[in-house]
């Protein structure tokens, strides 16, 4: 209780009131830490012109989805054998599972950089004021889900890579179908999570204008005909 009371000091009329109430008059400093580096930032709130995170996201999502898709192809190989033969496309079952393994491994490695870049670019984000997303969320909540969710997704990708490695090298080493059904199920669930998560990221750009030069210039009252010829 004491902690809240001290924290709320200077909070105006409620100072010294019921401790818990102090939550609602938190004193925010007027200076955002972003001001400390503002001189080095462009109109898009970044020290460079194009954000890095959205580019690495291509790799994370592409590699994950295709890894799972090819493990599905490997798992259902007996069913699709005839189709491959019809297409005159020589195929081996271990080859399909190789894609499932190596793509996921690459995904796990690259995704550390995806999250790192995302974190930095989230720190310098200045979402447009007064916007609510298609999901009905404000920018802070959207960024929280996308930021915290992103770290958790990285954790799941790493755990699934370890799981996949055990299946490949230990548990199912000598089996035709290299993956367990629960693994494929987890992969499908993660595709859904990635889709939702990616939509939040897309909303941060297209709706909240985060790191988009034109959006930030318009918000600052600039005339795009002059500012972006």
């Amino acid at each position: 209780m004491d902690i809240w009371a001290t924290h709320g000091e200077g909070g105006g009329s409620n100072a010294g009131g019921v401790g818990v109430m102090q939550f609602f008059n938190v004193v925010l400093p007027s200076e955002s830490p972003l001001n400390q580096i503002a001189a080095g930032l462009g109109p898009n709130d970044l020290p460079y012109s194009l954000p890095i995170h959205p580019n690495l996201v291509h790799l994370t999502i592409g590699l994950f989805v295709i890894a799972i898709a090819f493990d599905f192809a490997g798992a259902f190989y007996p069913l699709e054998k005839r189709i491959f033969r019809f297409l005159a496309l020589p195929v081996t079952r271990p080859g399909l599972h190789d894609v499932g393994w190596y793509n996921l491994l690459a995904c796990a490695v690259i995704s550390f950089f995806t999250v790192t870049a995302g974190f930095y670019e989230m720190l310098t984000a200045v979402p447009l004021a007064g916007v609510k997303s298609t999901f009905g969320l404000e920018s802070f909540v959207t960024m929280t889900w996308h930021g915290v969710g992103g770290v958790l997704i990285l954790l799941v990708i790493v755990l699934m890579t370890i799981w996949r490695g055990y299946q490949r090298f230990v548990w199912r080493k000598d089996m035709g179908r290299q993956v367990q059904w629960p693994y494929l199920f987890a992969g499908v669930v993660m595709m859904g999570v990635l889709g939702l998560h990616g939509t939040l990221g897309a909303q941060l750009a297209a709706e909240f204008g985060v790191h988009i030069t034109a959006d930030q210039l318009l918000a600052a009252g600039a005339d795009l005909k002059e500012a972006l010829p």
Binding site: L59, L63, F70, G95, L96, G209, D215, L224, K225, P229
Partner: protein
């Protein structure tokens, strides 16, 4: 004609919730680049199993690019580019179609190479790989400019466009 085929346009100036082209290109960019990377790793380290992984990724990139172009064309048609974005979009479209050709030719060539000997890869293919990777990087750079500089299909820019401000 398009407006009679598609649902009404939303605040992104799109007939669907959000841009689809940038989602489909995940599978062109990631699969093309990883195919090139695995080819190089395969040659350098002698892990020839990676050639098979490269092949499937290349085949997938080639299938995906045609879907990417379909959505890209529709969304470009609804983008109302302004200023220099007009030129960038033109070059992006031209390289996009060219990439479909380049990817198809490379995939055809690779099909033949793989049919002859799946465990070897001529150095010439690594040269073609390098060209492919360079084209993809340039294409991503141009697409990035359209969204991150010019904000095409973002709510704020669409709003300004409808108000006649850009």
């Amino acid at each position: 004609m398009l407006e009679h085929l598609l649902p009404p346009l939303n605040d992104h100036n799109l007939p669907w919730m959000d841009t689809i082209h940038p989602i489909v290109v995940h599978f062109v960019i990631a699969m093309a680049l990883i195919s090139v990377l695995f080819d190089f790793i395969g040659v350098v380290t002698g892990r020839r199993a990676l050639f098979e992984v490269s092949w499937w990724n290349l085949l997938f990139a080639t299938s995906a690019i045609f879907v990417a172009i379909m959505f890209g064309q529709v969304e470009a048609g609804l983008a109302n580019p302004y200023g220099d974005a007009r030129n960038i979009l033109n070059i992006h479209s031209t390289i996009g179609w060219s990439l479909a050709g380049v990817l198809s030719v490379l995939t055809g060539w690779r099909y033949v190479l793989r049919a002859k000997d799946p465990l070897s890869l001529p150095l010439a293919f690594l040269g073609a790989d390098s060209l492919l990777a360079a084209l993809v990087v340039v294409q991503v750079f141009l697409g990035d400019k359209l969204i991150w500089i010019y904000g095409l299909h973002t709510v704020k820019v669409v709003e300004a466009m409808r108000a006649g401000l850009v």
